[in-house]
């Protein structure tokens, strides 16, 4: 028989707070994490704004020896996982660590390590690189580091699907716990690619906003690159109840699809199939949903197509949904985005409030759903969705319910 899967811990490192409580408090207050970059030189960048994890001091969390093997992305992942585990109160006696999975999504892995080392090699003519270059930049480093730092000895691997990485990771962890293959999972996503090389790559796509991120708004001018990490602890409802754990919410469905269409243009059909998949998996009907935490990148194309996909799936109920985008505050944290947004979705249900879509200037006729403009709104939510749609046409949607 399938296990019910609940969330018992959250951890966050974000542009609007280095911890889960500060993240949520700032998210509801509409604090914007977008500003001119300080972690990299902006001299040669046409777009100088990012949503970086500000004033982050790794030395306060790790000793020198640990830091030698941790790229910034793995630092974020480990901190988020540690906080989530502490929050959950789990202890790993009696072989539980072997029945706990570690599944961490990341878009690109250790980009700071790669950028720094390529600069040494190609520009400065270095003869050799640091021996930990490869194990720091590999895409599974965040998952491996979380597993090592937290002592988790069950199935562990990375999931990479660009902007949907964390949602795919959490979805797979959900399926593993539901099936009984593992009892618990530490899962989420991390990315930290605010480097000169990656920012020039984003610049070349010409999708970045010069001012700020305004999802679903008129005069929106594109996305803003962010960074960070979020992790959740999943466990079977039975296990959580047996140890009298505080239950933050239940994951009830997961839908995935591929557009098989275009590398960068979003597709209504692909998005709609993922949304329908999550609803079907959860045995929820469209009318059961009150809130959607949107992918909402702030590009002209995503927000219009996501609006279409929601209308296609929800019909007349779409007009009654609250739909907000955290990216207006967090920027696009890429492989971390889906995990940050799942944490936000869980808390929205638990605290009965829909976080706002800030920086909103007014309606765009192509995005005519209720995006909770500029101010959070009290809202009784029984069930909600969290949408993630990646470059490459890879779509993932999680369905969450109050327990």
């Amino acid at each position: 028989m399938a296990e019910r899967v609940v969330v018992t811990g959250c951890g966050v490192v974000s542009a609007i707070g280095h911890t889960f409580p500060s993240f949520w408090s700032n998210l509801v207050q509409g604090v914007c994490g977008i500003a001119e970059a300080t972690v990299l030189s902006t001299d040669q960048l046409t777009q100088k704004i990012v949503a970086e994890v500000k004033d982050f001091k790794p030395q306060t969390h790790f000793d020198e020896r640990q830091l030698a093997s941790l790229d910034r992305v793995a630092q974020f992942a480990v901190l988020a996982a540690r906080e989530a585990l502490e929050h959950s109160g789990l202890s790993f006696e009696g072989g539980l660590s072997e029945r706990t999975a570690t599944i961490i999504g990341t878009g690109v892995g250790g980009q700071n390590t790669q950028d720094d080392n390529y600069k040494r090699l190609y520009r400065e003519g270095a003869k050799r690189l640091h021996p930990l270059t490869i194990p720091k930049l590999m895409v599974n480093a965040p998952a491996s580091q979380v597993s090592m730092h937290c002592g988790l000895r069950g199935p562990a691997f990375a999931v990479a699907s660009a902007c949907a990485s964390a949602t795919h990771a959490i979805g797979l962890a959900f399926q593993l716990v539901r099936s009984g293959a593992v009892t618990c999972a530490v899962t989420g996503g991390a990315d930290a690619c605010l480097t000169f090389g990656t920012m020039k790559g984003w610049e070349a796509m010409r999708v970045m906003a010069p001012d700020t991120c305004r999802p679903f708004s008129r005069e929106r001018k594109g996305l803003v690159i962010g960074e960070g990490a979020a992790a959740v602890v999943l466990e079977s409802l039975e296990h959580a109840r047996r140890r009298s754990a505080e239950i933050l919410g239940e994951i009830v469905g997961f839908g995935m699809s591929s557009d098989a269409h275009d590398l960068t243009s979003p597709d209504v059909g692909g998005m709609a199939r993922a949304i329908e998949g999550a609803l079907g998996d959860a045995a929820l009907s469209p009318e059961d949903i009150q809130y959607i935490n949107a992918h909402g990148t702030g590009t002209a194309a995503n927000d219009e197509v996501e609006t279409h996909a929601i209308k296609r799936t929800f019909g007349s109920h779409a007009a009654r949904l609250a739909i907000s985008s955290n990216k207006s505050m967090l920027g696009h944290a890429l492989g971390a985005a889906g995990a940050l947004e799942l944490v936000a979705t869980l808390m929205s249900i638990r605290k009965a409030v829909a976080p706002p879509t800030i920086n909103y200037l007014g309606p765009d006729p192509t995005c005519d759903l209720d995006c909770v403009p500029n101010e959070a709104r009290p809202l009784a939510i029984d069930a909600a969705l969290s949408n993630s749609f990646a470059f490459g046409g890879l779509n993932a949607v999680l369905a969450v319910k109050r327990v």
Binding site: R206, V207, K221, S265, T299, A300, A301
Partner: protein, 82 residues
Amino acid sequence: MDEVAADTMAIIAKRLPADKHNLSMTDRLEDLGIDSFSAVEMIFDLEEKFDVQIPFNSNDNRTDLLTVGDIVAAIKKLVGRP
């Protein structure tokens, strides 16, 4: 046709199937089937060819770069050979 116009039109034509390579200045990019990301690649090719910077954000609803002639005129202005 001068060299800048010919080179610009050849780069635009690269984005199109062979049967549409015969471009005229009044052809609209949208009608030719050049979508926003195809336009981004085209602009990269133009910047590389002429060593210029063309301000372009695919999220903008631009009204000044709609036709083949608009692109040719923009390039000529940037390279200083009107």
